[in-house]
């Protein structure tokens, strides 16, 4: 579809590495420098014993970090309200939204959409800056048109 790649998976990797480093770093400090605990005569730096906790923290940091990043990137949070133009988009319909400016010839676009098989076309008027996105701030939003295709 030509969408740019998402950086979410790379971010997840970074969060995971942070988890690993935190676990190994903290446990090493606590058990070899701060309070060297003699557990059954085993060496103070017992890395094999710390693998389970290190692994768990890696997974924990990666998961929580990725989910929060996902919510941030999509601008999603419990009380955020978004506009999604047609209630059936979450049911069974593919919705395509085209932004128009003053200069757009709506009739022409509507005819074109219908000629390629749109199930319905609607024109909707929205206020400027109607969404909280960040990537396309330079485009002024004025009118919206909605195309429903199957």
């Amino acid at each position: 579809m030509g969408l740019r790649d998402t950086g979410l998976d790379r971010a997840g990797f970074v969060y995971g590495i942070t988890g690993t480093a935190t676990a190994v770093g903290f446990i090493t400090w606590a058990l070899t420098i701060d309070w060297q605990l003699n557990v059954g005569g085993k060496p103070f730096f017992a890395l094999p014993a710390w693998i389970p906790i290190t692994f768990e923290l890696t997974v924990l940091f990666a998961s929580i970090g990725m989910v929060l990043t996902f919510c941030y990137l999509c601008q999603m949070a419990p009380v955020v309200k978004k506009d999604h133009f047609n209630l059936r988009s979450t049911d069974d319909t593919f919705v395509m939204v085209l932004e128009c400016t003053d200069k757009t010839n709506e009739g022409e676009v509507i005819n074109f959409m219908q000629s390629i098989g749109a199930e319905g076309v609607q024109v909707q008027y929205k206020e400027t800056e109607w969404w909280l996105g960040r990537y396309d701030k330079n485009t002024k939003r004025f009118e919206k048109r909605e195309v429903i295709t199957k």
């Binding site: 979410l8 389970p52 692994f55 923290l57 997974v59 990725m66 601008q75 978004k82 209630l87 988009s89």
Partner: protein, 484 residues
């Protein structure tokens, strides 16, 4: 998952009937949007009642101490840890279905994964009750966490499996919850958009986090699901391995064996799938979702049950053989006298375990048996009983008579409060499950729509056309990857 348009007609349909996307939405949202039925109220209130008895049991234990349970030297762990391991084991099937089957691109997981993941979360909540309340001084439970304090600072023992458990269970709960919830977001958005009543709109509006179904959001969502699945897979394996380390790293005969990690993990998947079967056989009937949770789904899950049951059986025999072959007299004693010997105080529990876990699932080698709902339900209960006995056998038969005969314990039997605590966790589990089935879609709506056009019964019939297409046309249409 790869969004292919073609699937062989030899594979049975995973969604029966003549469905389109809207019909799928209707079928799955209908039980959520309907008023609670009388059956639901009866089940829910009964679960709450049982939960209340559990709360009473726990209260007795907190006020009067763990002496309320019949634990004594040398049986320091009895029903409490048995139940803990039992519930955690059950939780693993949900993650396996969601995560591991996603990585294996198995389309059939979509009918069962939402309910299975919910089961995991509730099972982990129930499991977590046991290590918490068995502490005695529950009000200082935070001592298990490494926080800076004025006692040195005194850190926790990072070398101890009991601490690894703390991290493992907390991580498992958090990650399962996150995975379940992010998967739910599109479905909650569907419910929000269909909601007519004000409170529903508000509830699902808040719950759905403003999901719009934008393509970019879907792309990120799929990436997130894949990575979480990739993380959850080793997590499942590691969590129950760490639980097995509670025993394997000790020196108690019957506990100190390297077979425990794979044995426990296979056993967890085994009992987890059995619990999923118990829940789904009933859910599909009551919520009229037989066309989504088909007999094929039940069949496939029974295959997993027979596989993991056989692995568990091999593990039992290996343990037994190694106990003899090692010539360690204490190990051999634990098996020969404490377990296999039917005339010993707990010999009966070992043979119940063998019967329920090794012999009974073999019936699922037969296709007709796998597709029988009554038998599946009955077997799933039997298997869970067997798996409870497995943990009981491991824990109690090993420690009640170990190295020194002068320390041998008197017969351990549970008190009413231990039984009440266990029953209370059933109450908690089913209360949560009833609430879940009422307010959330039991089937992963968005995911099932992914597979509708290739595994739906009406679409299967159209596979003829695809099969007769010329190779060049096929490549042209399907050559590009949808970024699975």
């Amino acid at each position: 998952m790869a969004l292919l348009r073609y699937e062989s007609q030899v594979r049975p349909a995973l969604i029966e009937g003549d469905k389109d996307y809207h019909q799928v939405t209707e079928d799955i949202c209908r039980p959520v949007e309907a008023r609670p039925t009388k059956l639901w109220w009866i089940g829910f209130l009964f679960s709450v009642l049982v939960l209340c008895f559990g709360i009473l049991s726990v209260t007795m234990e907190v006020i009067y101490g763990t002496g309320q349970w019949n634990l004594h030297k040398t049986v320091g762990w009895g029903w409490d840890i048995t139940n803990f391991v039992w519930w955690i084991g059950i939780g693993h099937a949900g993650t396996l279905i969601s995560a591991i089957l996603l990585l294996f691109r198995q389309g059939w997981r979509t009918g069962v994964n939402r309910a299975a993941e919910a089961m995991t979360i509730f099972a982990v909540i129930c499991a977590g009750q046991f290590p918490i309340w068995h502490m005695g001084r529950v009000w200082v439970a935070f001592f298990t966490l490494p926080y800076p304090n004025t006692r040195g600072p005194l850190w926790v023992n990072f070398n101890s499996p009991l601490l690894w458990d703390v991290f493992a269970i907390s991580t498992y709960f958090t990650v399962s919850l996150l995975f379940w919830y992010t998967g739910l977001l599109p479905d909650l958005a569907t419910l929000r958009d269909r909601a007519k009543l004000k409170w529903r709109k508000m509830f699902y509006g808040v719950a759905a986090f403003g999901w719009t179904g934008s393509t970019k959001h879907w792309q990120r969502h799929e990436t997130l699901a894949l990575v979480l699945a990739g993380l959850s897979t080793p997590l499942v394996l590691s969590v129950h391995t760490i639980v097995s380390f509670d025993f394997a790293t000790s020196v108690v005969p019957g506990w100190h064996t390297t077979i425990f990690p794979p044995y426990f993990v296979a056993g967890a998947i085994f009992s987890g799938f059995a619990m999923v079967q118990t829940l789904l056989v009933v859910t599909r009937k009551v919520l009229a979702l037989e066309e989504y949770i088909t007999i094929e789904h039940i069949d496939v899950m029974n295959k997993v049950i027979v596989l993991t049951g056989s692995i568990v059986g091999i593990a039992y025999l290996t343990e037994l053989f190694m106990a003899w072959y090692s010539h360690v007299p204490y190990e051999w004693f634990a098996f020969r006298q404490n377990r296999v010997n039917l005339f010993s105080p707990y010999g009966w529990s070992y043979w119940i375990m063998m019967g329920c876990n090794v012999l009974s699932p073999q019936i699922f080698w037969f296709r007709k048996m796998r597709r029988s709902l009554m038998l599946t339900f009955f077997m799933s209960i039997l298997i869970n009983i067997g798996m409870w006995f497995e943990r009981f056998v491991i824990i109690v038969t090993s420690i009640y008579r170990d190295y020194l005969p002068s320390s041998w314990a008197t017969y351990y039997r549970p008190t009413i409060w231990e039984v009440g605590f266990y029953m209370g966790t059933f109450g908690l589990f089913f209360t949560c499950y009833f609430l879940f089935s009422k307010f959330f879609p039991v089937i992963a709506l968005a995911e099932i729509k992914h597979i509708l056009k290739r595994s739906g019964e009406n679409y299967k019939e159209k596979m003829d056309e695809v099969e007769h297409e010329k190779v060049e046309e096929f490549v042209e249409q399907h050559g590009h990857d949808h970024g699975a």
